[in-house]
Amino acid sequence: MSDNNIVSKICGAYPPGFTDTEILSNPNFIFSNDPEYSAVQLFDSQENTVFVNSFLECQHYVKGGWDFLPIQRNEDDFFDIFMYISITSIIFGVFIIRKMKRRTS
């Protein structure tokens, strides 16, 4: 998924006429609140949390890696665990079947 898709998924659709601003080059940049934007809670990988109050701020944080939702991460972990269990089971199954076949023949 592209960066823009991730941003849209977490922060909502890009506002019409949205212009991206270079923030990293300006150490004194201050995000202004957008009263029409409903605050979004973001998490990093350590589950630190921040509330963002504008689309620009949200986009900035998401691109900086604050794109985790604890519940999403939890589900992803389960999906991974099931995948590893499945792969191990298949390998184990093939091994056992071959061993049984060798024994019977």
Partner: protein
Amino acid sequence: MTHPLYNKETFLKILVLLMLIIIPFSLSDYSDNVVPEKITSDLKFYEINTCSISLNEFLLHNPNVIYQDHYKIRFNNYSSINCFGQITGIDQIGHVFYISIGTSTIVNLFLQSIFWLIAISFIKKDSDYIFSLSRLSSLVFVCLIICVLIYSEQRYYSKQFFLMDLSLNKSYLYLFIYFLCISFYSSYVFNTRSKNIIYYLPFAFILIGLFSGMNIYFWTVSFAAIATERIIKNKSLRKYFTGVNLLILFWAYQAVGENFSVKTDKIRGLSLSSYNFLSVYVWSYLMVFTIIGIYFYSRERFNFIDKKLLKQNFLTSGIFIILLGYLGSSMPYINFMNYYYFGQTKYGTDNQDIFSVNYWGESDAWRGFSPSSESIGEYFGLTLLIYYLYRNESKNKSLFLLPALIISGIGLYASNNKAALITLTLCIFLKLSKEGKLNNIYKLIGTVSLLSFLIYFIRIENLLFSYEFTSKKMIDMGLSYGFDYDRSSAINYLGNLDSEKNFLVQFFLSIFGTVAFYINRSELWGIFFGRFNPNFEELFLGTGPYSLSNLYSDIDISSIRVSTGTPLGFLLPHSSLLLVILFFGLIGGFLVISLITFNLNRLRKSNYDLFLIGLFITINIIKSDSILYFSSLIMYLVFISATVPFNKNSKKLTV
């Protein structure tokens, strides 16, 4: 020697099954100090404490929920894996409490598969597992088809997979590996018991095998893999399959630009939820492979099976169907567990009165464990017929026989399936005549009784209507359900037939309409024609197997019943013949009818018992949509494939 039921392996399997039933619905954080409260109309506690109380923990504090029928335990597949088996909410509507239990489609896949595989593994092994490249390729192929199908049915699956992003390739990698694991073990269990499994065919009405949250049956994977493996191995079969490839491409091409969908409801698993090019393309392959797989599997085995054991299993399964249906109707907990662990397409009925009658004193149909009273009526009718036909297969009469027969009789009566009852009587009468046990007087009495029986069910007052009225009733119903601005091509054509120019069509339509009227199908078949909107090519070649989305979405019809003013709901066509015409067109319908007629005629001389079974099935499915339920489909396909000539000298099984 130890009885097989009491050996160590069986004991272990039973223990695992019990653990699979108890543990998943007992998991929760027991150290969180959240103690379930007694359930009352004040549901604040359960609104606050979601995903903290397991179902079994809740039931320990509210044991009345297990058996009081104003509680309904319902699953919620769209919940976090963390919430599995826990209460995600309780609602009260009127006097009924709906208890929502968090489940997860991914966990269901594994949990249900393991449960079913262990259950099937009780069947005795009859061969070794051959792990070949063609077998592996067929499993990989079927799993790939399923993944593409999920991709093409995203509208349905996005509401089933919690936080699984179906726009990511990674999600399909997960699904592919999950399915590969399940299909690998299914293939092992199935192939090592392939000769014996056919005896347990009647148990398909108990272990229905639909994954909760999925639009795929567990059985589909095994049978589709059998067909794929056979096609990979057999070059001449691949050559014949070219025609099928073209047909599937045609069906998919017809769906280009369309994006219809249907809420699959009780026919989930055998109904495509979305109608678009990709979904029709892959779904058609999956369905064709499944049907071919069942055919290949059963055709070679049926001729060699022990009829006595098959008969006994039909009767035994009938007992369990009634028992589980009744327990489920009176106990919400059993109802929920039945749904989950047997993979039902629809919760069992909550009507505890098996012999209930309606306001006008007519018997209400009781479906019990089954999603359809019609299909379960056919099952019990067939059970009694099989018992009668193969009654001499075993001389020993067990104590179990009489209660089993009574229960099957009760099942048939409760289902209120009059067609099954009449065809059962007809088949027994034909068998008696064939055996020469009836002299001419008895034959006359039998014929008159059967006709009287038929007239009684049709109702004598219905016979007093004019032919003009009865023959047109079906089309009139179709017209009254439709709107002038959006008529289907079928109703437009049939409603405006010029009887002089189209004498033959008018003639057959009148007969069809009259039959529909007498068997109370005018409204349902009329609605079908009101919706049926094929173009010229679709009329002859159909829109693809088990694809109903276009039928239910293309044409707008009245949402209330013309006769009663009540909501129309999801009414199925109630005719497998019409469904075959919808799926495979007039050519497909003609081929199916010809094949069945030809084989029945051949069997009448060579195998009269099988002829009667074929006759029973054929008459019944004309007026029911049982082919939309996997249990019925597999049973009918097994018997129909058994009617196809097969070289009995060939003992070698190729599947």
